[in-house]
Amino acid sequence: MIAKVIVFLPLLSFIIVGLLKRNFVRSAGIIASSLITISAVLSCFVFYKVIFNASIEEHIVFSWLSAEGLSVNWSIYIDSITAVMLVVISVISALVHVYSIGYMEYDHNLPKFMSLISLFTFFMLVLVISNNILQLFFGWEGVGLSSYLLTGYWYKKASAYKAAIKTFLINRVADVCFAIGIFTIYFTFDSLVFTEIFKNTAAHANDSISILGINMRSIDFICFMLFIGCMGKSAQIFFHTWLSDSTEGPAPVQALIHSATMVTAGVFLVVRCSPLFEYSEVALEFITIIGAVTCLFAATIALVQNDIKRVIAYSTCSQFGYMFFACGVSAYDAAMFHLMTHAFFKALLFLGAGNIVHAMMGERDIRKMGGMYEKTPLTCFMMTIGFLALSGIFPFAGYFSMNAIIKAAYAKNTAIGEYAYSLGVVTVCCTSFYSFRLLILTFYGSSRYPASLSKNINEAPLVMLAPVSILAFVTLFLGIIGQYLFNILDSGEAFWGNAIYVAATNNLADKVSNLSWLVKLSSSISAVIGIIIAYIFYVYRTNVPAILKNKFQFLYAVLLNRYYFDEIYEFIFVMPLKRGAEYLTKLTEAQMIDAEGVNKFAIYPKKCSEHISRFQSGLIYNYVLVMVIGIILIASWYFIAYFL
């Protein structure tokens, strides 16, 4: 019952607030925020229940579709993974709702905005609470739809609607693979319900399937297809381009997309399907490589970006790389832990960035900031906490989860594990470097914004500061509590129960506890090195970045332009499509349909009417003449008829 309320309150909020008139700004904010807050409180209660009773709740809400042999229900299924996700989603969403009241204060369309973020939350909750993969897919697509609507919220701005379309299309490409994965699951297991699929995984482990004439294990194929879907949603390399463009929307939207909803769906799916992935060694290795590469790749891009939101967006991409390679080395619990901590500190960072952009009247370039410490001390303080957590500094939330992942990668003790480990450690260094570069450039040093703006820069109002402070508070303590609660990698079974399945050969618990202290400390050391470099570059010797930029111009250009991924996609996919469409337009539309078809038929009536319209001289005496001639003709007709 409680679970149903949790899921349907956001939907109720969507409907009520969506029906409000345009200018009902205040009531829209209050209604939506309070409904979602209730939902958040209830999910904390459910989380509490799941921890202490270790119970799995499963209800069928009602039947969705039933065909020959296939029946799917709308369902509620709560185990420990879902409980964690519920808390993360609903709490962050509630804070974002409250924050939006302040951030979107002057927007008369606030009811629309509020109802859309409620809808976003609803779809994400439907996704995590499902007991079958089809309902999950429904949530998955719904989340994609809402992110499209929200990214394009300022649809009058060309860059915003282009970003929205890009988000939607890239996700569709990945979703095709996901759908194929679902079909194959049904084909192989004859069921779409998770528990039944996982029960039969061992029995079908060596089934093979023929795809385009190539025989392969069906589990491998399923896992690959599902993972490509996850790559799209979680913005892994090759599908990452939409994530940084999504910064075109309002800041609360990014706080949602990048932390709790949308991108977490990919990691959630991999963790949820751990019993499947455990049977596919190849897929796990693929996930590890993609995750590790994305991790470093996105971090290097973030090193040189100047847009405050873009830096944070690329850090999301990079952090999700961590989560995926954690999944790849079978440390699903560490991935979930990092997902949770990351969600809170990333929401903190985006809302903090929103405060700054709000204060700077929409300016997002960190080169034009500086010295914001005096103007916005509280935001500065919270952002520092957020970035310390992102860099993985003890005792902030990021330290525990990131360290768990890096240790797990090393403990895996395979070539790929070590590859992921080394990339991960380098990434920590990059992460702390760009975090502190951003902090120093934004908040410290002398101000670089125009003096005329100086008077208008103020600290954000309480309604915006409060959610940020709550997130900062959570970020401070979540790591320690989580470490204690989840018992990461040590005896993880206690908390996660049967929700996560790790094959006996892949179990890392013993190996992790036997690691040397150097490995355990490696991420912290790397993070400190990154901070020191950032300090040298931007405080101690401020000419160093310029010298490096001149020396490695090519490398700098590549990083600044994000490895030219957008340009390459433009060249490979967009341009040929555009050219082809233009050619076809010319050929079919202009030549065949217009010139030869419709217009040719239209010419004759046009010519006829041109002739006939000459009768319409507009001169009265002409009309009279015609009338008289007509009368005479009619009269003579009767006359002649009479005599004949």
Binding site: R614, G618, I620, L625
Partner: protein
Amino acid sequence: MQFTESNVDLIHFLVLGAIIFSIGLYGVFSNRKNIIIVFISIELMLLAININLVSFSVFLKDLTGQIFTMFILVIAVAEVAVGLAILVAYYRAKGDIDINKMNQMQG
């Protein structure tokens, strides 16, 4: 009224009516300058028809025709009033009542 011994016959009235009607008709479509004359010509045509009606009424010994004539006269007057009002309004709007310039309906 009795015309029993008169040498004025029905045919004379009809011819008179036809002549007046033709004059009116000619006036309507031969006139290319003045719309007032067009009006007068239309009135002339109506009167010619009235002559027809009255003469038939007399020769057929049926009063309906003459009563009908009274109706037509009243309606003709009303029609002239409306027509002249339109003309005045038209003159105010365009500053001219030249027929040759009233050709905005030209296709």
